[in-house]
Symmetry: D2
Subunit: 293 residues, 4 copies
């Protein structure tokens, strides 16, 4: 399998590492990769503080016969990881992440994701779309993706989530994208998917946390509206921010104009966040993200 | 006196009107101006709601021998204003507004204003700068502008404001710009200058209202930082927003980086707001602004 | 028929005027509309030069029983138009413009237009899509829009254009959008549709006129890539510019990345230009556009 | 000497490397630094092509007692550099670059540089300002910087440049910034300062190469105007681009408005380019730049 610019995806991998900062980490990692016949393609690092801080690195590498060697490489890595107290993960281009999308009535974010995915710009398998409305079924199924309708409301939340979790497991989902899914998820649900749920909130957080952000932006008379993609935690709209963007508005824009303009921002902000997650460009550290562009 | 593009400023004026919307307003206004030998140069209008809303218009006009005729024109206008229940004001290029600037320690917004003013981009007389620190004196006086040092803190707020108000009157100030003035103004002070005080807040309001917005932006892990210029009302950071803008930041930016990046946004956001105010482009309506660019 | 914010579209119209500037135009127009029981909803004007220039105005108005009265209104207007040497046109919300789209292989601009149209954000009937490739047929027909495949190349250009013009007439097309149609149109073709053909060029014109702009942007090492929508004239990529926008790139972006990033810019720039055209917000003056936002 | 975030500048250095790409470079470099008691603070790399391309890396490091050890470190590095055919340079925070600025009549770019420098945002010594006009003398000297007036025109170019080069040497200049210096420099002059002269061109290159870009932007009716900072080579406006940015304009903006708006873009684009150069973030490769932000 060969991608657009001619790299053999079979031999590509990524290594993400987080550990206490101290001299010699980069040397140790690059020696390790060199000794395992791996060439570093791209590398980004960040240190929260030169003294006594935390060190983060993302390395993209190319290894001859990676598929045969990856198990041994991971096994060998354990010693180094222990030595430096590393929190780490290896991922491989060949193991495409499996993505589920939850959506309510408004389809624009779902559409943008499907479209980017069809263009080859999202390196994932979209394995299922779940909605509490029927209206997106036709479109989703036209892409060959299974669509599940699960009605939702406060009263039946527990049984809804049980069914949703069952489907997540059935489809072996790695990433759940809330593409304007307007139901609240319980802490029980969220606990199943730590740093695996990405939401789009239709405001520039922390402004307008909660419901009806466009209405409140209109009432406040702001001159810019925004959107924020973030990982979902137990605290509503308080999870680690991945990406934000804004668009200019003025006094002539009523609430329905803000919504229309906002849809464009939401589409591009959510898509970026999902792409970066899929490419393992994001490390969550406490309530923030480190994004290696 | 002739400005850069050759218009005689003596003959230029502006008319701002707000009134209940109903048919015939534009016709009445344009007839009035035509009959008073005035040519409409630029006109912008806005109606909050086609039915039963409020109508706003800003007209720039050119009148032969305006200086001789303006009193009669204003006198004649009263009948029309009464007929349509208009709230209005005439202003003239020749009557330059008189601006005071309050500043604390950080001089970047003050500098930008002085610079734009020196370039001829702010059509005003900057008549006085008042600060609770001495450090800007040299720079301000090098522009030939009087500088007053008035120490300020909570305990002496009342007497400080008394002195400030005295100076505002002595200098016949029309507009007061808070160019990073870090003292709170009391409702008594604000009451003297309704819609005449412009502040720059160093966040994208309503996010991070109050003190230390950059520190809080850093703690929240936002991906954009902003600045907001607004008219000052009694409610801290709640006044009508005039302009907002943002700049992108990332995980590598510590608080002092946010401040440095933020300075650039603050400078341009405040300067725009001040320019629009000086050009009578802003109408305040309840807690919002209508800005006719 | 009632639109989203409750206005009756039957009674809405627009008047665009261009004439030599002189005192009294606004008064004459607003009197005319007032006497014809029309209320001005929105009005924007521009004068190329206060003395001896050209005057442009766009007025949106609401008229009771517009459908019965429009013929008489247009008839009555002729006297005024003659008096001021006006070039003008009336348009009505009820007369939706009929749009054709030409596309070649890359479907992203077509998709965005269809999508915005389906959302109700483009007030037009998309009556036909014509392509020199078959690949968009399924998608277009799924929207219920006729799709015509007309193979194209230099050798058969004349007969291709004859067939295209025949279809334009058959479908009563008012606006032709070139949504990444990669064939050159002859002056004969263009002459049939003055200021009625909107193209998207994948560069920030006048940089990279002609073929392969992304390749040339890559070779020059630019830090921003752009897109330009413009009316098509006989001179390749030289027509009046309607809208432009850019996106940031860096040294890591190869040509295929520029293309991917550029697609997003192209989509939004073309859609804006088409929307403004459909809302009669654009007046072409010599080789420039006046766009009343 | 301690900078704002508490790092001891005496012990900070940077290493920039360019060499043929092959496995093991990062390992070799990081081992070298580790063995020389240096901790990597920040590292960015780029490979023009994973197979057979060129490899670039910028490393910021911290070394205990760097001042005593740097000579030995540089000496030791030669072996490694030879082994990998590296083109490289070490720089040290302690060796501040010495900057000269050339300016003609318009002072805005000069002002912005002086200001940023005074704020501590440009880590350099500005050692001299040279102008073919006298008007900036007062301002420059108020910053304590020597100002030299050298009249310039085509006829006396040779003797002017001789004098300029003499001053460059006298002041030991490392970087020459053309802050809107409107005289052409000869190839002889440019040859003395390879990749050491940064110019600001007042257009979005390659649009509007050469003279009067704002006038030509106005004539073309563009909707965005831009500015470009680039290294100066023998070919006018063709040197490697460092940074570009744009600002939106519309049909109401005459040439003098474009110039006014453009000044703001020029200021920020030039300042960014100069900062990145001073921080050794730029590597020139053929006619492009790699900028490690």
């Amino acid at each position: 399998m060969v991608d657009k610019i001619g790299k053999n995806k079979d031999n590509h991998g990524r290594l993400l590492v987080k550990c206490p900062d101290r001299p010699g980490i980069v040397a140790a990692l690059s020696n390790f990769l060199f000794e395992h016949h791996s060439n570093i393609i791209e590398s980004s690092q960040y240190s929260s503080n030169p003294e006594n801080g935390t060190f983060f690195i993302r390395i993209e590498f190319h290894t001859e016969n990676l598929q045969e060697n990856r198990l041994k490489m991971e096994e060998d890595f354990k010693e180094l990881a222990t030595r430096f107290s590393m929190n780490y993960r290896f991922t491989y281009d060949n193991d495409r992440k499996r993505t589920a999308i939850f959506v309510s009535k408004e389809p624009h974010c779902l559409m943008e994701l499907l479209w980017e995915w069809q263009n080859g710009d999202l390196d994932t398998d979209i394995v299922v779309v779940i909605s509490n409305h029927e209206n997106a079924r036709g479109m989703v199924e036209s892409f060959g993706i299974p669509f599940h309708y699960i009605p939702a409301n406060k009263e039946i939340r527990k049984q809804v989530e049980t069914e949703q979790i069952r489907l997540m497991k059935e489809y072996h989902v790695d990433l759940l994208v809330l593409a304007r899914y307007m139901q609240i998820l319980t802490p029980e649900f969220v606990r199943h998917f730590p740093n695996q749920i990405i939401n789009i909130h239709h405001s520039f957080l922390p402004a307008f946390i909660g419901a009806h952000p466009y209405e409140r932006a209109y009432d406040r008379g702001v001159k810019l509206i925004g959107a924020t993609s973030h990982y979902v935690t137990n605290d509503l709209d308080e999870g680690p921010i991945i990406e934000q963007d804004i668009e200019r508005v003025d006094h002539r824009d009523h609430v329905h104009d803000l919504k229309k303009i906002g849809r464009k921002v939401e589409r591009r902000v959510l898509t970026k966040a999902v792409r970066w997650h899929l490419e393992d460009r994001i490390i969550v550290e406490e309530n923030k993200t480190i994004v290696f562009h």
